[in-house]
Amino acid sequence: MDLRYTDEQLNFARDVRDFTKQNLDPRVARKVLEGARLNREDYLGWHRALHKKGWIGVGWPKAFGGTGWDATYQHIFDEVTADEGAPQLIPFGLRMVAPVIMAFGDKTQQDFYLPKILSGEHWWCQGYSEPGSGSDLASLKTKAERVGEHYIVNGQKTWTTLGQFADWIFCLVRTSGEGRPQEGISFLLIDMNTPGITVRPIIMLDQEHEVNEVWFDNVKVPVENLVGEENKGWTYAKFLLSHERTGIAGVGRCKRIVKRLHHVAKQSTSNGKPLIEDIRFRDRLAQVGIELRALEITLLRVLDAEREKRAPGPEASLLKIKGSEIQQTLTELTMIAAGPAALPYVREGDGTSQDAEWLSDEAYRHASGTYFNFRKTTIYGGSNEIQRNIITQMVLGL
């Protein structure tokens, strides 16, 4: 047992850091470090730089143009780029639909979609949840009816993250009403420019436009956009969700926030002393730092098990719950550190609206907005209560 990185891994970490310093737009890095909202170009600029370097297909096999990195390398990449303030890679194309197309799509689909995901030409979004189907996803109602060489899609998807930027959406649609609800679902790829699709913003509690409703009104989708077999979509959907397990903990990002919070707490004062000397605050920061370390090692244990092709133990199931809890704690702690500077509402939007430069305390400019925004983390991707149900069944066998 050895928890240190090898020399080879440390060299790789240095390469990643050098590359990031040279290729990440400092304006974008600053936005990320401050917790500001990013626009489409902010994400795509970093995406294209990585594509040019051949580093965008993190976790993809080489055969499909990926990096072929093992799990530890992927973790190092995540940690170092996050530390430098790189935007998170939007997962919908790279980490969600791509593995499904690789595993279940046909050659034509692979040749068409995968290179465009890598290049950034196609921005993908996810069409899973519906107004009446949240945790109980299999009850979804959006219908796809086969008419000749097309499916005619009618219904509504919701909580579609960054759907306003998307060129394509992957959807779970109902193609049959027979059997169990899980049995009549298919996995369909839909061009967002198809007539009959309407995207409507849902403004969240931080007054930001991050998620959407997507309406389908007699949308004609060619049958060749079906992935795998008709009515087998539930299997692909579950495959997709299991693929997202290790990425969702957000360890790299959390480490950056802890580091920044620590720095800020040494700079700012409370009652005439550095905030870090306030024992109540320091205890909270210490506590979350310790939990984050425990989460990181737990994540590394899971990655190690995968590398050695051992089945990960119960530790794997806990990553989403613990990771989201820690993320929320950190946003709360940042808001606590801000004190009264957390009060103003700072409009972000697309950069054309009123800027936040007037706020003197830039470290805290986005503290409360992020706090409110991050309540989502224990709800999405299967709420933490659903996760506990899953662990109850799959791990504890109750």
């Binding site: 320091r282 090692i297 791990v395 504890l396």
Partner: protein, 372 residues
């Protein structure tokens, strides 16, 4: 980076696990804790034969030169079996202390006798009324006629009931930093008040009144060895807690599956299921931190301190949550003496209270945030 054990480590784990299963059942343990001594020389010797005592001793001192990870493996099994023999108090702790706080010559013969299981050595460190302070300055040694006379009162000495020799921290004359002394426990001026502890382990409060003592290592230079030894002990306690929590969690899940109320297993109730999942999270996060602490023992002092305290703080909280939850999920039977659940709960509670509780270690970890 890898999390796998070597062949030797797997064999060590297997040997210990078999010892627990074959010779340390809950019934075996009952007999031991009800005996007059409260521990078993036979089982102690078995542990020595397995090589558990020689394991942490360096090869140049005649031991097996085991690592922190090896010790972790042993302590996990000790936690599983709720072993009451003072392996931590009379093997790990004195070995760690002697390895850094005594000269080669001073420790040579003693370590050999610890390795064979023949001699038990305990560490008398905590001055009455100082809680978890690591720098102890109340006990005093005076130098006269070419020797040292030691006076003071040390409390909750692990294995202090049965130890043949005592390692004692004390300041000489007007020194402000501690020195380390060796005192035979039957020496004149040594008075022991021995007792069983809540978790059925045994300990003693020990009074020294001008007891003749031998200085080990350099005068006034023992603190770094003491800090190291206590960090070794804390890492070991984390591993012991992981073993105990794993077993207790398993027992609790079994109970949730078999105990029926309202015509169905109580484990079908979501309130109980989610509590059981939260217990599992505490266990797995603790396992990760026990590993981190075990690996960090050879790091330089500041880094070691930070890592070990992070682990002990997290594990201490987990001990409380898992222990209390197991009792709650068992209901009435959980608060009886007859079932092993309460025994695990008590041991876990006392692990948190030994060598710094969760708050104490959180504060020590917090100090590192000031420095960095």
């Amino acid at each position: 980076m890898n999390f796998s054990f070597t062949e030797e480590q797997l064999a060590l784990k297997d040997t210990l696990a078999k010892f627990i299963e074959r010779d340390y059942s809950f019934d075996d343990r009952w007999k031991i804790i009800r005996s007059n001594e409260g521990w078993s020389r036979t089982h102690w010797n078995q542990l020595a034969e397995i090589g558990a005592m020689a394991l942490p001793i360096a090869e140049q001192d005649g031991g097996l030169g085991g690592s922190g990870v090896d010790t972790m493996i042993v302590m996990e099994q000790i936690g599983r079996g709720l072993v009451v023999e003072p392996y931590l108090g009379c093997a790990l702790l004195p070995v760690a202390l002697l390895s850094r706080g005594a000269s080669d010559i001073e420790r040579a013969g003693l370590l050999e006798r610890i390795a064979s299981g023949e001699t038990l050595v305990a560490f008398a460190h905590t001055d009455a009324g100082t809680r978890y302070e690591r720098t102890q300055t109340r006990a005093r040694a005076t130098y006269a006629n070419g020797g040292y006379a030691l006076s003071g009162k040390k409390i909750t000495v692990l294995g202090g009931d049965c130890a043949d020799r005592l390692l004692v921290s004390a300041c000489v004359d007007n020194d402000t930093a501690a020195s380390l002394f060796l005192v035979p426990s039957n020496a004149n001026g040594v008075k022991r008040f021995t007792y069983p502890m809540q978790d059925a382990q045994r300990g003693a409060d020990i009074e020294f009144a001008n007891a003749q003592a031998t200085l080990l290592g350099e005068r006034s230079n023992a603190q770094s060895a003491i800090d190291y030894a206590l960090d070794v002990a804390c890492a070991a306690l984390c591993a012991e807690a992981v073993g105990a929590m794993t077993e207790l969690h398993k027992t609790t899940i079994e109970y949730l599956k078999t105990r029926k109320q309202f015509g169905r297993p109580i484990g079908m109730n979501q309130a109980l299921q989610h509590r059981a999942v939260d217990m599992l999270m505490h266990v797995e996060m603790s396992r990760s931190m026990a590993m981190d602490a075990a690996v960090a023992l050879n790091d330089e002092a500041a880094r070691r301190a930070k890592t070990v305290s992070a682990a002990k703080a997290l594990v201490g909280r987990a001990c409380r949550f898992v222990g209390q939850s197991a009792v709650q999920l068992h209901g009435g039977i959980g608060v009886t003496h007859e079932l092993n659940v309460s025994h695990y709960f008590k041991r876990l509670t006392m692990i948190n209270a030994t060598f710094g509780d969760a708050d104490w270690h959180l504060a020590r970890y917090g100090e590192s945030l000031l420095a960095a």
